[in-house]
Amino acid sequence: MTKHLVVVGNGMVGHRLVSAMLDRATDWHITVVGEESRQAYDRVALSSYVDGASEEELRLPELTGLDLHLGDPVTAIDREARRVVTASGTELTYDALVLATGSVPFVPPVPGRDLDGCFVYRTLDDLDAISEAAAAAVARPGPGRRSAVVVGGGLLGLEAARAMRLLGLSPQVVEIAPRLMPVQVDEGGGALLKSLVAAQDIAVRTGVAVSAIRSESNRLVATLSDDVELDADVVVFSAGIRPADTLAREAGLRIGERGGVWVDATCRTSDHAIWAIGEVAALEGRTYGLVAPGYAMAEVVADRLLGGQAAMTPDELDMSTKLKLLGVEVASFGDAHATSEGALEVVVNDPVAGTYAKLVVSDDAQTLLGGVLVGDASKYSTLRPMVGLALPADPVAMIAPGGVELGADALPDSAQICSCNAVTKGALRAAIHDGACTVPELKACTKAGTSCGSCVPLLKKMLVTEGVEVSKAICEHFAFSRAELFQIIASTGLRTFTEVVERHGTGRGCDLCKPAIASILASLGGGHIHDGEQAALQDTNDHFLANMQRNGTYSVVPRIAGGEITPEGLIVIGEVARDFGLYTKITGGQRIDMFGARVEQLPAIWKRLVDAGFESGHAYGKSLRTVKSCVGSSWCRYGVQDSVGMAVLLELRYRGLRSPHKLKSGVSGCARECAEARSKDFGVIATENGWNLYVGGNGGATPRHAQLLVQDVDQETLIRTIDRFLMFYIRTADRLQRTAPWLEELEGGLDHLRAVIVDDSLGIGAELDAAMARHVENYADEWRGVLEDPVKLERYVSFVNAPETPDPTISFVTERGQPVPTPRAGDPVLIGIPSLTRREVSA
């Protein structure tokens, strides 16, 4: 008989439990009751909402096969009748009840904490409210900085401070402990963290508390325990969390000494039919504020409900964390505070480089117990799995700059590589031997690296040590990646393929390396792509500056910048297509594509187009295609900026720019986003105050939404940022790697990208700017270049011994009034196209 499971709470841990239950065939019917009306979302990534991530992107995978009862909290549990009652009066009986209510923000009992302008930082609704208040403060007339006081300098507090800065406020963090992130880092690490955070315009006060908040002429004033007063437009409490255990208390369940619903190692409460998991649970008396232990509890309860014998082992719960806050990497793992008896601490502190590393080892210096890393946490993924194991090397050498590089080979099979999903090295090795040979494949079959992602570098190293070749070599002729070849060519000044292959490769190249080098030479300003030896390097479409179609004919796309075209322009295109018998179609990039041109017709077609003022649209190139736009403020009732003007400006600036893959762009005149800019490699969306720039989006087989890079910038900043983004991508991406996978693979991701091109952390900003300036200055229309050069024109013949004779293999049939290639034997045949006359119409 079907049993009924009621889950109270629709957060990450509740979602995990339900997902684990649904993964297995069960006779449980599940109802989830949630207080928030939203679908379950990734609360760990909450702060990315301020960066522009949408609620949809944060949403956890939607589950089916259960009843969802959202926006209606459970208000009482009748344990006798095994029934819960919700605020709306709904009654649900249960055979098993799981409490996954999570936690509530802790707000210190400060006078004035309920004033308007005081917020907590916990849910998407909280963030919406904070954003609104911040926007109002920024819009308020009058001089002076708009500021926010953030109460609490832990992980959440620093995330909140960063969010405040993004919202245009100057954040001031107040932490009662003597250092930031007191739970994760020690005193030394905390000191460095404070200086790194303060360097980013975030004021930090440690060792003081907020003692009162009052309202004064529409603003707030926070008084600190040392009598300092801070002005603020917004006060955010992010001083920790408390288990949301009210429901359990009222139901008379046993409560842990420091709060939380007491559960045993199987996550069962003092009532046999009730379980508790996640932040609300006090596992043998202790609560855990991280998602990984919550997931483990969810798995235990799922197993138990299905008759299994799983149990938690609280001693082994991994409280390790690695995160990047405000561009500062922080990691702590194992016994970070050296509480084990006789533990020794080995510290390498480099305030000049801005790094701090500490290892905690056993009294005999043989076993790794834990550690703290601040500033550079790249060694976290290898160090964390070694906790409890014999040290493979001298501990100083393991954390010193230039010391030993440890890989996965130093670990035994039992070591957990991915602590979020409890995947051991042995399980990963088995997966590799079963055929997984890329990181995405390993993620798919083991779940390793799918939560926090900190173990991904280790997954890469494992693939290498297990003998899976992850060669970056572009092909058999070069042992280099495209990015390395770019550096070689840029720094050596070699400007022909022959020189490059003779000095740095072998043989005479192929269809992989030749177009890649052609693209690099073009990006470095190599003149017309058909000049000299370069002509023989060009890929299919670049060979005749047109897009080859299946029957060997070409399609022709003139540039229509921003999708804006005059009636005269339309007429010319129509006349050319008609006179040459071409099939026409509107493209997705707001242009017109003319199909079916034979190679010997191309010059005559382009002569007509160039004479009418058109130029190459580079539809054939790995280069900028189009900048799509909506009609913008010139016409639209909702537009706030001239999106067409911006699109034209961008398209004309970056036209002809050769890159590792095609580049697409879009400009929308308001937040309605009609130009679909967020599906582009770089997309621009107008705001009331300027422009938002999104990067790394694409459509195609693996759609990606672009991510917000800079916000509310003026035109000059926007263009400089795009200049640098494109040039940085062109220099460092792999062959045929679009911006989205490039960004995914970029060490440090979007934060690193922002540091490089906005804050110029690598000091290459001026160089990138100069490279783009050269491109803009040297741009010339490629088709005009062909028409004006008899040597290049000579190539555009069907046959070298019969230049005007059409290729006899090309023929057309008519379809819907236009020419299309004659189908060949073996072509797919469309069957059963419904026609209106045949359709049966029901009355």
Binding site: R508, T540, R550
Partner: protein, 123 residues
């Protein structure tokens, strides 16, 4: 309509073929092919960087499109190749064999230079 298989059927005795002129040698840019038409036979002619000449059928056997002269010339394991521009399958310029698909090939033709002209041998 002429089918691909008829185009590729050639007599075995190459010494009986007639030499036909394709174009002047200096019209052949190294590693960039040209197409030539002799009756209904389409030939792709290539000049390598080291000066060697090769001629193969111009029709890509996978698609029937006459495009091989427009492919990228290179080498694989030292064997000179051209990659079809449509689906990037490489063909040996020496024997016409497709190196990426078993059993697929294009015809080859004898080719020589005479008095500054490139000539190929045809049946």
């Amino acid at each position: 309509m002429t089918t691909t298989s008829e185009i590729v059927r050639l007599p075995a005795a190459r010494d009986e073929w007639r030499w036909r002129t394709v174009c002047p040698l200096d019209r052949l840019q190294p590693e960039r092919g040209v197409a030539a038409l002799f009756d209904e036979v389409q030939v792709a002619v290539f000049r390598l960087y080291d000066g060697r000449l090769f001629a193969i059928g111009n029709v890509d056997p996978r698609t029937g499109a006459a495009v091989l002269s427009r492919g990228i010339v290179g080498d694989r394991g030292g064997v000179p190749t051209v990659a079809s521009p449509l689906y990037k399958e490489s063909f040996s310029l020496v024997d016409g064999r497709c190196l990426d698909a078993e059993g697929r090939s294009v015809p080859t033709f004898p080719v020589r230079e005479r008095n500054g002209d490139v000539q190929i041998g045809l049946p």
